[in-house]
Every structure is written in structure tokens, then in C-alpha cells.
Homo-oligomer: 258 residues x 2
DNA sequence: GGTCGTCTAAGGTCTGACCACTTTGTGTCG
DNA sequence: CGACACAAAGTGGTCAGACCTTAGACGACC
């Protein structure tokens, strides 16, 4: 009985058309999309009111429960504001919220861009951390470093190595005492992890990586910002070189010259 | 008539207790909170299953519609995953998503931190933009600059000045051709705007601001990265000094020395 | 032994009713 | 005439119960 054209949907407004059209995507999701389209299509601006729940039901040919679930979803996403006794309104997500949403959709960023950002963020972070880190924090940092060292010696899997590497850098960022920086660095590491085929993660030369990390940690322990910055810069550049080379190799292997 | 104990809620499970207990917070919101608490309280880990919808209804003493709306909200926030025919599960938001959420909750960041980040981000951005911006982009940048200049000449309100200032800097970041940087810069500007009392926005000395912006724009037009970086650094530092001074004054005025 | 139904539990949707909040208009009283 | 009170309409909020669809498990049949 499903997979049939919905009953008397005359040529007037076949908004839904076919129910269960194969995809079996939940109804409320499609309703949410349709409401989004409605807003965009009719050029509704933030603050504008859109049809009431009951009206939307009729418009879209679904029950009120589905419309309400769709609205809850849209409201949670900040696209819509539902006000008891007044109606449903297009919300005005502040610029920051919108940027965040675009951020979360920004899945694919080039490796070059990400590595450029690493240098931008991590070099000053290392400098600040050298100035500001407490002895306690330095001890914790050393512990993390030693774990990394041990993991390399034990020839741990690349997945694990990458996680430890990320953790070390994140820790340094944290000790720079700048919450915005910490957040951004977290995001960056996350996207880097996703962008690199996990297998070619820790740049290939674990031994070298350990040496470079050691230089950074030593500079931090010595409270020497300039040396910390330099060490961080060297490390990131070397990592970048290795990663990009790998990617190039990979590409060459899959698409042989012809 | 509200503000009364809900009817025959015996001592069995007075989970809800009083409806409309003053706050009139929608039920489904409270339900969502309770489910969150349930997950946290019982130490449920990502992947764990939580009680079915009908069970939750009974547990919380509400209807299934409310439970479902709450779940929709939680699902949209990525805290929960609802799977047809199987049940409701605690979701495993990836680290990036969680960082993003913390980011959006991170409302109050010190001005010092934000200005430090401005320097970190905008100085290299100016350098890259000097190298990479196309003639077309430079023309657009100049247009923006002239609008700012004109606004200053016309003694526009601080609100508007700040918006134009933000737009100019955002544009530069964009021309650096690094999507991650652009996003981060957008977020930063947004938080700066929120952190400064809007009135003390554009640092006070509009004329000086225009001159400094002019230096940056000129360096970009000349495709001179070093000069662009230097100009950007000067501008940000001068802006920071002015802003922090203002804040200090403000504080002194409201809390006179004792 | 593998395959195919059937049964069960779970989410998905619908219906219609009623409750609560807002606004508005209207009517009464000062 | 004006101000306040109340009632009605419109809109979101909640409830109750029913039925449908899906996923998985279990058992009968080939």
C-alpha cells in the first residue's frame, strides 16, 4: 500500500508526492527540509513569521506530530524560533553561530592549508607556553612525551602514534593559556586527523619525530620562548614536508604517468 | 489553576511533580535535560542503549510525543542516535564536533586572549593576502576601505564603524586563501564584537585607524608581504592598546580608588 | 543445514482532543 | 469618554491511543 501516489493530491500542490519513495528517510526530516526550502524560496528574512503548525500540516500533507518534530530539529539547529501563543519565526543566527555551522560542514580542507595553520597557531603557542607553563604542567608534558617515546620504541600502530602526537601538541596549546587558541587547535588537529589517510599519519619517520618533539619540550622546560618557537617551526615544517611527499607518492602510485 | 500538584501522581514516581512550576519551560526541554542527566548519571558510554521511548514515557511520566520531541532535539545536537527498529543509543560525537560545541558555549574570553589571537591570525593572513590576492580582490578591498574612510568622515556610529572594520579584516583573511583561517577569523571577530561593549568599539581614534588600515591596504596592493605583515601587526597592537586602556578607564570609573 | 516465514520489540506516523499562552476586541463601569 | 475586565480566537504544548514499518530472533519447512 505504500509506494503509491498519495491519494487525491491533485495537480494543485503535490507537495509530498509519493510517500516512502524508496529512501525511507524519516518523514520529519523531509518535512524539515521542505520548511527550509519554504523559507529560502519565499525569501523570508529573520524575524519573519511562517505558517502555523496546523497550516504547515495541511500544506505538506503530514500530521502535526511530524511537523512539530521537524520544527524541534530546526529550532535546535537555530534556524527557527517557536514561540508559544505567537507562532513560528525565522531565527537570526548570529554570525558566530553561522560560522560555527559552516565550520562543521567544512569537512575537506587542503592539507597545505591545514599545515599552514599549524604553523600559524603552534609556533606562538609554543612561545607562550614556554613563558607561562607551570612546573606541574611541564611535568605532565614530559610524561606525555615519554609515553610517545615509548610508543615509538614499541612500534605502536600509526593510529595510536597520531593520537599521542595530537595529544602532545594539544597540551602545549593548552599551556599557552589562551582559550580561543586551545579551541582552534583542537579543531585543527581533528581536521588534520580526518584529512590524512590514517595510515600515513605520523609523518613516517618516528625517530625523527621523537627528536623534534624532544627539542620543543626541552625549550619549554628551559622557559626559552624563542627556542620553543624555532623548534616548533622546524617540527611542523618537517612534518609537512613528509606528509605532502607521502600524498604525492600516493597520487603517483594510483595514477601512473602516461 | 496551574502551579498545582499534578493530579494523582502518587508517591510512586513523582518524577515531574509540579507542572508549570513557575518557569513554564516547555516540557520536552525538561525531558531532554532529564535524559541527559540519565545518561550522565548512569555512566552510559557512547554506543550504549538507553530505555525505549515508551519506557521513557513511563519513567518520566510524560507522553510519547514529548519524549520524541526531546529525543529529536538531543539527536540534532548529536548527543543521541535514534535507530528505527533498534532503539535509542548514546551517540559518539567526534572530537571535532565536541570542540565546536564547547566553542559555541565559550562566550567569555578575555580581551587579551582575543587580541593575542588577532595578531596570531591576521599578521600571517596579511602576508599571504599580499602574495595571493588577485587584482579584482584588491579592487574590492579598496572599495571596502573607502567605505570605511567615508564612514569615519561622516562620523558614523560606533556600531557601524565596527562592522566595517570587521568586514575589512575579514576580507583580508579571505584573500589569504585558507578556508580554515577564514573560518577562525570570522569566529574571532564575532567574539571580539561581543566582548567589547559595543560603544567602545573602534578603539577611539578613528583617524588613526584609517591611517593604519591604509598602510595595510597599500602593502597588499604593492604585493609586499613583509610590509603587509608589519602594518597589520602595528595596527593590531595599537588597537589593542586603545581597547585595553578603555576597559581600564571604564573599570576605574565604576570602581573609584578606595 | 540452509532458507524462509513469523513473531516481537522498537521506532515512525496519524488522529483528535484538550491545555496554556497571546492578542485582540468588546463591553461594562467609573 | 476612557480605562479596566473579560471573553474569544488563534497558536503552540501536551496527551492518549491506534496503526504502520523496520530489525532481529526464533523456529518450521524444504
Amino acid at each position: 500500500m505504500p509506494d503509491q501516489p498519495v491519494t487525491e493530491a491533485g495537480p494543485g500542490s503535490p507537495v509530498v508526492g509519493w510517500r516512502w519513495m524508496g529512501s525511507s528517510e524519516p518523514l520529519f526530516l523531509r518535512v524539515a527540509e521542505q520548511i527550509e526550502r519554504f523559507v529560502a524560496g519565499n525569501g523570508l528574512a529573520p524575524g519573519d513569521r511562517l505558517p502555523g503548525e496546523r497550516e504547515l500540516c495541511e500544506l505538506l500533507g503530514v500530521s502535526r506530530a511530524s511537523v512539530r518534530e521537524a520544527l524541534r530539529s530546526l529550532e535546535t539547529r537555530g534556524l527557527v524560533r517557536v514561540r508559544h501563543g505567537k507562532g513560528v519565526f525565522v531565527a537570526a543566527p548570529d554570525e558566530g553561530e553561522r560560522a560555527l555551522q559552516r565550520f562543521s560542514r567544512l569537512r575537506e580542507v587542503g592539507l597545505e592549508e591545514l599545515f599552514a595553520m599549524r604553523e600559524v597557531l603552534e609556533v606562538p603557542a609554543a612561545g607562550w607556553a614556554a613563558t607561562e607553563a607551570t612546573d606541574e604542567q611541564l611535568a605532565s608534558l614530559i610524561a606525555t612525551f615519554e609515553q610517545l617515546e615509548q610508543a615509538v620504541r614499541a612500534q605502536a600502530g600509526p593510529e595510536q602514534l597520531r593520537a599521542m602526537d595530537a595529544r602532545l601538541h594539544l597540551q602545549i596549546a593548552e599551556y599557552a593559556n589562551n582559550r580561543f587558541l586551545t579551541m582552534t587547535q583542537t579543531l585543527l588537529q581533528e581536521m588534520l586527523g580526518r584529512s590524512m589517510d590514517t595510515t600515513l599519519s605520523v609523518t613516517g619517520r618516528p625517530a625523527r619525530s621523537v627528536r623534534e618533539h624532544a627539542e620543543i619540550v626541552n625549550a619549554l622546560v628551559a622557559h626559552d620562548p624563542a627556542r620553543a618557537r624555532a623548534a616548533a617551526r622546524r617540527h611542523i615544517r618537517s612534518t609537512r614536508r613528509a606528509a605532502l611527499n607521502r600524498v604525492a607518492e600516493e597520487r603517483q602510485r594510483s595514477v601512473p604517468p602516461g
